[in-house]
């Protein structure tokens, strides 16, 4: 089992004719993802890696039954593309694009409210259900099928933790990149709830980092509703105040966004928190018995 994505999911790639979209479409297909079509305005009739390209998402849905879409579109085009995709009835949208204006992210989130669509990102490395399918840029060989759910703000750190797990034979049900922006479309708590309800997941790992209050808020959810064990690592113990650490959302402002605040909130909620990434492996083994 898995959350949000499996080998049957009919995936659309937006921005498939661009350099990154083209290369990533190839990797996703090789991994086994059921990519049914691509969309780039003005490129209808082209093919990329044997995948038909359409002008609009509405066409892609009508012709190929696309139900999930991964975005490799430029930041300035993300807002309109998201609205078009939501209007076309696609139920999962993964925005890999970095540097989406935060006001646009708020408008997209507002537009999605009350509709049956789930968005991940912006700045999401993607989502992968190992052995089945991936939407995004995660290198497939760093993930393995298993029963651990992984939620990460960062791409590279998710790869690191998952390859550490692989070394002891542990794999993932699904690994989700929630993105590293100040306004993520889907919150950490919402993703925890999905894993909690998934019969294929025994434990969830949170790979967090400095900035925002997602982890603090998730701690409330974990304490009050979560039934499965949670292990966490939060990166950035000593980052200086007021500096953006590569991700738009990774910034400590005053007392807000520090690892100290996140770790203490999570620990109060019963989460075991690792000091360093590799320690996650032992903590997971302990919890799984």
């Amino acid at each position: 089992m898995s959350i949000l994505l499996n080998r049957e999911t009919k995936v659309l790639v937006q921005g498939i004719t661009g350099r990154v979209g083209r290369a990533q479409a190839k990797w996703m297909l090789e991994y086994g993802t059921n990519i049914v079509c691509g969309v780039t305005p003005g490129k209808k009739g082209e093919e990329v890696e044997g995948v038909p390209v359409y002008d609009t998402v509405a066409q892609a849905v009508a012709e190929c039954g696309a139900e999930a879409s991964v975005f490799f579109v430029p930041p300035a085009a993300v807002k309109d593309a998201a609205r078009e995709t939501i209007d076309a009835g696609v139920s999962l949208i993964v925005v890999v694009t970095e540097h989406v204006p935060v006001h646009d992210a708020m408008e997209i989130k507002d537009y999605a409210r009350g509709r049956t669509v789930r968005l991940l990102g912006p700045t999401s490395p993607g989502i992968i259900t190992p052995g089945q399918a991936k939407m995004g840029i995660m290198p497939g060989n760093m993930f393995h099928p298993g029963r651990i759910g992984v939620i990460s703000r960062s791409g590279t750190l998710a790869y690191e933790v998952c390859s550490d797990l692989a070394a002891v034979g542990l794999g993932q049900s699904t690994a989700v990149g929630m993105g590293a922006d100040p306004v993520p479309f889907t919150s950490l708590s919402e993703l925890l709830a999905l894993f909690d309800a998934d019969p294929g997941t025994d434990l969830v790992i949170i790979v967090g980092e400095v900035g925002g209050t997602q982890e603090e808020h998730a701690a409330d959810f974990i304490a009050s509703q979560m039934t499965k064990p949670v292990v966490a690592y939060i990166a950035g113990h000593s980052v200086p105040e007021g500096k953006r650490m590569g991700h738009a959302g990774a910034i400590v402002q005053g007392d807000m966004g520090t690892t100290k605040s996140k770790i203490s909130a999570l620990q109060k909620a019963g989460v075991v928190v690792a000091d360093y990434p590799l320690d996650v492996v032992q903590l997971v083994k302990d919890r799984l018995g």
Partner: protein
């Protein structure tokens, strides 16, 4: 991008917010002339991209142009939280009857704007929220609906304001929300907004940032970004297209991802201090890593450089050529340690080793950092 008070003040004024007339001066002499023009008493305010100016002596009143000159002489020589003061604002000193705080920012969890009014102005809103939560009134705003005048007035009335005061402040609140939207601001604040003894309403401070990711649609503003980056090395990082944050330590860091970069800081921090944070982003090329090596090695007092490169979407085999070329052209005594994993890793290890780099093949970053520690112990 953070704005200086005078820049934010100009934008606020264009949107109809009552910002008092000011003059920007970059010398004691110019400050004196400004004070003569405006008429004493005046307030001299350091223009720096950080808070806490008042406590650091960066905001002072002067009763005469001579005193203004003297104060400017001190302030222009000083640094506030590490930011050297290059300019001061000279503004007429208002007689304050009452102070308020107005702010618009983003609620990251709810994913929408939030507007905040406090009847305690002049102190930080975080402090008021902690010590006097009953004086803070906030509400989330639907970004599609916006903040109407009547929404704003509901908040001012909730805060107990009445009559003209409620109407005037609601109007300013409404304008501040417009500024926030127009300039893609993560935050726009007036602290304090005052009612003067004469019954005028004035924004005595202006704080705003513009979202860096939105700058493509604000190119008309022509705000120079160069002078708001703290250090020369950080400036260089911006120029070559990487995130470089200068730190106090002795081990340079290069990471192909931001989260991983912060984790490396944590792990190295067990025994040593990072000299910098550097994230390459997804666009690694030979040229980029050549420039990255040049940048990282410029930092004084380095004992080693640790590179952590995961070859997923990034073509690390291309980047490695840049590292090799730089080291051939600029041999260094500083040990260079690289942990590389992913596509074409064997080829990359070989290439780096031939250039004198200690290339490690460990599955976990911690194992490579342990090896780095042993190298550092040997070279002590």
């Amino acid at each position: 991008m953070k704005l200086y008070e005078f820049e934010a003040g100009n934008f606020f004024r264009q949107e109809g917010i009552p910002v008092p007339d000011f003059v920007i001066a970059d010398s004691p002499q110019a400050t004196r002339e400004a004070a003569e023009k405006i008429g004493a008493p005046v307030v001299i305010k350091a223009q720096v991209l950080t808070g806490g100016r008042g406590l650091a002596g960066g905001v002072q009143a002067a009763d005469s142009p001579e005193q203004a000159e003297e104060i400017a002489r001190q302030i222009l020589k000083s640094s506030i939280r590490g930011f050297p003061v290059k300019r001061v604002m000279v503004v007429n000193k208002a007689e304050v009857a009452r102070e308020f705080y107005l702010g618009v920012t983003i609620d990251g969890l709810a994913g929408c704007p939030v507007v905040i009014l406090s009847t305690a102005g002049g102190v930080s809103i975080e402090e008021t929220a902690k010590n006097h939560p009953e004086m803070v009134f906030s509400r989330q705003v639907s970004i599609s609906a916006g903040l109407s005048l009547s929404d704003a007035e509901e908040i001012t009335q909730q805060a107990g304001l009445t009559g003209e005061e409620s109407t005037r402040i609601a109007g300013i609140f409404h304008s501040l929300y417009q500024v926030f939207r127009k300039y893609d601001a993560p935050i726009a604040e007036i602290n304090p907004l005052v009612r003067t003894a004469k019954g005028e309403y004035l924004a005595l401070d202006a704080k705003m940032e513009i979202d860096d990711s939105s700058l493509f649609r604000h190119s008309d503003l022509q705000i120079p970004s160069e002078d708001r980056i703290a250090t020369p090395l950080e400036k260089k990082g911006r120029q070559i297209g990487v995130t470089y944050v200068e730190l106090d330590g002795e081990v340079g860091i290069v990471s192909s991802g931001a989260g991983l970069g912060m984790a490396i800081m944590d792990i190295i921090g067990r025994r040593y201090r990072p000299a910098n944070f550097l994230e390459t982003g997804g666009g690694i090329s030979e040229e980029l890593l050549y420039q990255v090596m040049e940048l990282v090695l410029q930092k004084k007092g380095l004992k080693a450089v640790f590179l952590n490169l995961l070859a997923g979407i990034n073509p690390i085999h291309e980047g490695a050529k840049g590292i090799v070329r730089f080291l051939q052209e600029h041999p260094t005594d500083v040990p260079i340690v690289a942990r590389v994993r992913g596509n074409r890793q064997e080829e990359i290890w070989q290439m780096l080793r031939e250039a004198g780099v200690e290339a490690f093949t460990d599955a976990a970053t911690e194992e490579s950092v342990e090896r780095l520690f042993r190298i550092l112990e040997r070279t002590k």
